[in-house]
């Protein structure tokens, strides 16, 4: 196989960029809102994939970090009047610290035990959010209703006004871009190789001079931080947070997104986001009596057709096509 031509890469990138810019103006507001949620979930899955896919630590509790991120943003906006964009770094910081602290006990727990410990976290969070002594901040069961950010400029393009949802699309796209770039930078080099080494053979990794404690805890922190940013962004996009929005199902769906998108694949997160956003809707449209069962069937079908996730499937297809054209 010869390397791809640079010119073509540039051309396709430019086309993709144009498509991304045009996209929100080609569909209705509601679809834009859904696409925003796909971006939000993609970021959350990216965070979890770093931990689970690259570092081999299974977390069933990332919904909790998503919730912490969402609540950080909501409380800051609602109680302190902080502008929405400024809440994202705070959400990252809060979740990074929480994740890092949780990473320590996680060192002693491996595999399934870690999964169970984080699962407990996911179960506890909705109830913790209802705790009465923080009710003046969190709004208790009622949650917090937020205002959608208004677009900084107003114009119409292709007969479509530049609405709050379209503005949020570009905002989310930028945030997603930064997060993906950050993850890519971390994972492609020395650090990424170290993470994979820790996943595949911790003892060998230690022998090579990798500080296991530091790497595992930091990965947990960064992973939680990225998921927290997704939570904050999700809170802003939906304009409402409440304990019932972040049940244990969310954590499980995020893990489903990671696996469906492709373990240890950065672009896979986008497919994972699409899956958890759209497939429940498809299931609901097929049957109102048993949407969960349909969802299960679709999930099993997906895993059967593409056992290594969407990205794994695409890679296989790509390799097959290239060998065919080359041969």
């Amino acid at each position: 196989m010869k390397p791809l031509d640079k010119k073509w890469v540039w051309l396709w990138s430019a086309l993709l960029l144009v498509a991304l810019i045009l996209l929100p103006f080609l569909v209705k507001n509601y679809r834009v809102f859904q696409i925003n949620l796909v971006l939000v979930y993609a970021i959350a899955i990216l965070g979890l994939n770093m931990l689970t896919g690259f570092n081999g630590q299974i977390s069933l509790g990332h919904g909790a970090f998503y919730a912490f991120g969402a609540y950080s943003a909501a409380v800051l906006m609602d109680k302190l009047g902080v502008p929405y964009w400024a809440t994202l770094p705070v959400a990252f910081g809060v979740c990074f610290v929480l994740g890092f602290l949780l990473g320590f006990p996680a060192l002693r727990l491996a595999g399934h035990y870690l999964a169970l410990a984080t699962f407990a976290l996911a179960l506890a969070v909705p109830q913790l959010l209802k705790y009465k002594h923080i009710e003046h901040l969190t709004g208790g069961v009622q949650g917090i209703v937020l205002n959608k950010p208004t677009p900084p400029i107003s114009f119409t393009f292709l007969d479509q006004p530049f609405s709050a949802d379209r503005w949020l699309y570009f905002f989310s796209l930028a945030v997603a871009g930064i997060m993906f770039l950050m993850a890519w930078n971390i994972l492609r080099g020395r650090v990424g190789r170290a993470l994979i080494a820790v996943r595949d053979h911790p003892i060998a990794a230690t022998a090579m001079g990798i500080n296991l404690t530091m790497f595992k805890s930091l990965t947990f922190g960064v992973s939680a931080g990225i998921t927290g940013v997704a939570g904050a962004l999700g809170g802003i996009v939906v304009a409402f947070v409440s304990p019932d929005s972040f049940t244990v199902n969310l954590s499980i769906f995020l893990l489903v997104g990671v696996v469906v998108g492709g373990l240890a694949s950065i672009p896979g997160a986008i497919f994972g986001g699409m899956f958890i956003q759209f497939v429940p809707n498809i299931a609901d449209e097929i049957s109102r009596s048993a949407p969960a069962a349909i969802y299960g069937v679709l999930l099993i079908g997906c895993m059967y057709l593409m056992p290594s996730g969407v990205m794994g499937g695409l890679n296989k297809l790509w390799v097959r096509l290239r060998t065919k054209t080359a041969g």
């Binding site: 509601y30 009465k132 949650g143 209703v145 304009a239 929005s245 049940t247």
Partner: protein, 401 residues
């Protein structure tokens, strides 16, 4: 004099001439046409509260019957009901789908306090009716701030008020102990109760203790409440805790007049686990006919309900109260649509919903649906009932408004 008569005559002629023209003029908002009216619904068909999904199915089944019989004013009802799994974030997405994508005229009987809270502001900003929501919170009747949202069932505060009226009638000098769940639901009941007692609240309420949903039991709370020496007990708890409280009271040998909030009035999930003999004499309030109560299993109203269940909702459980709920609330909406006539604008829908005065077949006798421009609480009347070991026995008069 002559001039006056002439003017009057002319005015009459003019009025007669104009009236039919005005009547014949059809006005539509998004979602309504000559042929159909699009109505959106959001129910938890999946997730933790999926038992309530039966309401959505019953509503669909009732609209099927209405459509089979020719629709409302010649228009078919197209009910688009979607699943939110009781997840508020999903409710927002589904509400936007229904309003912006499906372009429904209104949202009807969206279920649950958190899901409805999530779309409260959105619906009012969009000026799309959020009609007859399926939650008992008091905040849905706030026409000044949220003119596009209206409740349906008796709200928690009016239920509390009804218990207070009964207490003041029967035991005006009683000592009251209260157990309540420490969240918006429990506090809503408590606030209504204390407000209704007014000045007497201080002297009559001798103990008031809360519990958290996360508490394993309410045993210690019950011991303290008994210790207060109260002879009236108001039990504001959700089913699991209600059963615990009833059982513990019996174990402690505490026998106050026991008022149990209607949230936990299920015989199967509360009274039976608590022990039938422990539950004897407990008082609660109701407004719907209980389909398992033999006294209602006769007459045209019962036959109609049964025929509808058999033909249009054959998979539904005849013992399930939620089917009565869905049937009744759907009839409420049909009445609103009938009243709106050919003026199917969202504004007129809210106007007609705020001008109801009727009874419905499966409401208890004497319970009515009544609204006004400043009264967004359709059902407020309830009757008290006492548990006799098998079913709830209605007693006394109808309370409320």
């Amino acid at each position: 004099m002559r001039m006056k008569t002439l003017t009057l005559a002319l005015a009459t002629v003019a009025a007669v001439a104009i009236a039919p023209a005005a009547l014949a003029q059809k006005k539509y908002d998004t979602g309504a046409t000559d042929k159909e009216i699009k109505i959106g619904g959001i129910s938890p068909y999946s997730g933790p509260a999926s038992a309530y999904g039966n309401i959505g199915k019953a509503i669909q089944a009732y609209f099927d019957k209405v459509n089979a019989e020719g629709g409302v004013n010649g228009r078919k009802i197209n009910f688009i009901s979607v699943d939110d799994g009781y997840n508020p974030a999903k409710t927002v997405e589904q509400a936007r789908k229904l309003v912006e994508q499906e372009e429904v005229l209104l949202l009807f009987n969206t279920l649950g306090t958190p899901p409805n809270s999530a779309i409260h502001k959105y619906m009012n900003a969009k000026k799309v009716p959020q009609l007859f929501v399926a939650t008992g919170a008091t905040k849905w009747g706030d026409p000044k701030n949220f003119p596009w949202t209206m409740g349906w069932q008796p709200n928690y505060q009016s239920e509390s008020k009804n218990y207070v009226t009964h207490i003041l009638e029967t035991k005006p000098n009683g000592k009251i102990a209260i157990l309540y769940q420490n969240d918006d639901y429990g506090k809503d009941y408590l606030e209504g109760f204390e407000n209704a007692l007014g000045d007497k609240a201080k002297s009559m309420i001798v103990a008031k203790i809360s519990y958290e949903v996360t508490d394993p039991t309410v045993d210690s709370q019950m011991v303290s409440l008994k210790g207060s020496g109260a002879d009236i007990f108001f039990n504001i708890t959700t089913p699991k805790f209600a059963a615990q409280a009833i059982k513990k009271a019996a174990e402690l040998g505490w026998k106050p007049v026991h008022y149990l909030n209607s949230v936990s009035s299920s015989v199967g999930t509360v009274l039976k686990p608590a022990g039938i003999e422990n539950s004897m004499g407990i008082i609660t309030a109701g407004y719907l006919k209980d389909p398992t109560d033999p006294q209602f299993q006769k007459g045209k109203e019962w036959d109609d309900w049964l025929a509808w269940m058999k033909k249009y909702n054959p998979n539904g459980d005849l013992k399930d109260n939620l089917n009565v709920f869905g049937y009744t609330v759907a009839q409420g909406l049909v009445q609103v649509l009938k009243q709106a006539g050919d003026n199917l604008t969202r504004e007129n829908i809210m106007k007609q919903a705020a001008a109801l005065n009727m009874t419905l077949p499966m409401l208890l006798p004497g319970v009515n649906v009544k609204t006004a421009a400043d009264d967004f609480y359709p059902i407020e009347r309830e009757q008290l009932m006492k548990f006799d070991g098998t079913t709830w026995q209605l007693f006394g008069k109808i309370y409320g408004r």
